[in-house]
């Protein structure tokens, strides 16, 4: 029971309270770039959930069994982790194209974009290298915790992205002053959305 509530708290904390988009500002490029239509936002969210889980598992294993024992982590973690993500994305793309054309058509074009999505790099580094987000609170994730954390972060990403897309679709038909139309108004909307997430801060002592 204790473990279940522990994992649940980890998930809620990663998904809502420390939402990667709206309370940490990580992954904003895709947030503004892709939130034009509901279909693209859904494809991107699915692709991010999938890649983030795989990337976090891989970086966790590489850190635990390769970089840390060899004492290479401190100065090799940036190139190592970004290469892992880039290679992984490439493999996933090749695999999907061959074995699941339907899925490939649904999320294929978003996969290359994920390589440069900072959310994936950030989450994958956080679970692998202790104390990446907060240096004072170094925390060693176990593999199970790493998986739950990555799932939480990516679900939180998808949730925020879909909410924002829905708001933006509505904004298109709203009467907005001419200078603010388009991007400026999107930023202000994102600010108000982020205000809602600030209200969650401190829940469950997270």
């Amino acid at each position: 029971m204790a473990t279940i509530s522990h994992f649940l708290l980890l998930f809620v904390g990663a998904a809502l309270i420390n939402n990667i988009l709206l309370t940490r500002f990580i992954g904003l490029c895709s947030f503004f770039g892709i939130s034009n239509s509901m279909n693209t936002a859904m494809g991107m969210s699915a692709a991010v959930i999938f890649v983030m889980m795989m990337a976090s598992t891989t970086t966790w294993l590489v850190w635990k069994f390769l970089l840390f024992p060899l004492n290479l982590g401190e100065f090799l973690y940036i190139p190592a982790f970004i290469l892992i993500i880039a290679a992984l994305v490439q493999f996933v793309e090749m695999y999907l194209r061959k074995y699941s054309p339907a899925l490939y058509r649904a999320m294929g074009i978003y996969l290359p974009l994920i390589t440069t999505n900072c959310a994936v790099l950030a989450a994958a580094t956080e679970v692998a290298k202790p104390g990446f987000f907060k240096m004072a609170m170094a925390y060693n994730y176990t593999l199970g915790e790493a998986l739950v954390y990555a799932l939480g972060v990516s679900v939180g990403y998808g949730f925020a992205l879909l909410t924002f897309t829905a708001l933006r679709e509505r904004l298109d038909i709203a009467p907005v002053p001419r200078v603010l139309k388009g991007n400026p108004m999107s930023f202000i909307t994102a600010g108000l959305l982020s205000l809602a997430y600030v209200g969650l801060a401190g829940w469950f002592g997270l």
Binding site: L22, F75, P79, F187, V198
Partner: protein, 207 residues
């Protein structure tokens, strides 16, 4: 001579990465709560951008186009590691403030974007000018944003442990400017302001 000046100026005004092209936002909004951190972030980005642009431009005939993205990323990641270790060794307090944003320069769209769009197709000197222009354009907006947020949001500006500028006593700072929502909303208005500035001459002609 003239050509590289033109390239340099484009980064500052008409192609400014933040207010016009809207790339590299993540780091900007997060770091801009303090002027000090923003200054160092700007310098770090200028360094990585100029060095990676230069190296990619030198190697552009050797890089096969099928695997260019992984090669770009490895080059960028090496320079980011240099900055990461340098700040950690010589400026630990700054490193503590910037934290994850230094490693995340690797995936900053500005740098990969310029490598792909400019350095891969242009001569070395032009690429360096482009890196400088883009980097300085990024830093100017970043520091300007940080100045507004820190000065009005906390009532004072601190640089290297000393208070440089202070609001008169009795000023009650709106803390929301220092928080996440404030960054989004302020940036929205900055973008609107820049757009208004760019559109002004045509407005005058029409009137």
């Amino acid at each position: 001579m003239k050509e590289w000046l033109k390239v340099f100026r484009a980064g500052l005004s008409i192609d400014n990465p933040l207010t016009v092209l809207m790339i590299g936002l993540c780091a900007t909004l997060a770091v801009s709560s303090q002027v000090e951190g923003s200054l160092f972030m700007g310098i770090a980005v200028i360094f990585v951008l100029v060095m990676s642009n230069a190296l990619i431009s030198v190697l552009r005939k050797l890089i096969p186009s099928q695997v260019r993205i992984p090669i770009f990323i490895v080059i960028i990641a090496s320079f980011v590691t240099v900055v990461d270790l340098f700040l950690k060794a010589f400026f630990p307090p700054i490193y503590a403030v910037l934290g994850i944003w230094i490693p995340l320069i690797v995936v900053n769209c500005i740098i990969l974007g310029r490598a792909e769009a400019f350095a891969y197709h242009n001569r070395v000197w032009l690429s360096i000018a482009d890196g400088l222009g883009m980097g300085i354009g990024f830093s100017l907006v970043l520091v300007g944003l940080a100045f507004i947020r820190e000065f009005f949001g906390s009532g004072k500006i601190e640089l290297l442990g000393a208070t440089v500028l202070k609001m008169p006593t009795g000023y009650a700072p709106p803390t929301i400017l220092m928080m996440f929502p404030g960054a989004f909303i302020l940036f929205g208005f900055v973008v609107a302001f820049v757009r208004w500035l760019n559109e002004r001459p045509t407005n005058r002609k029409a009137a």
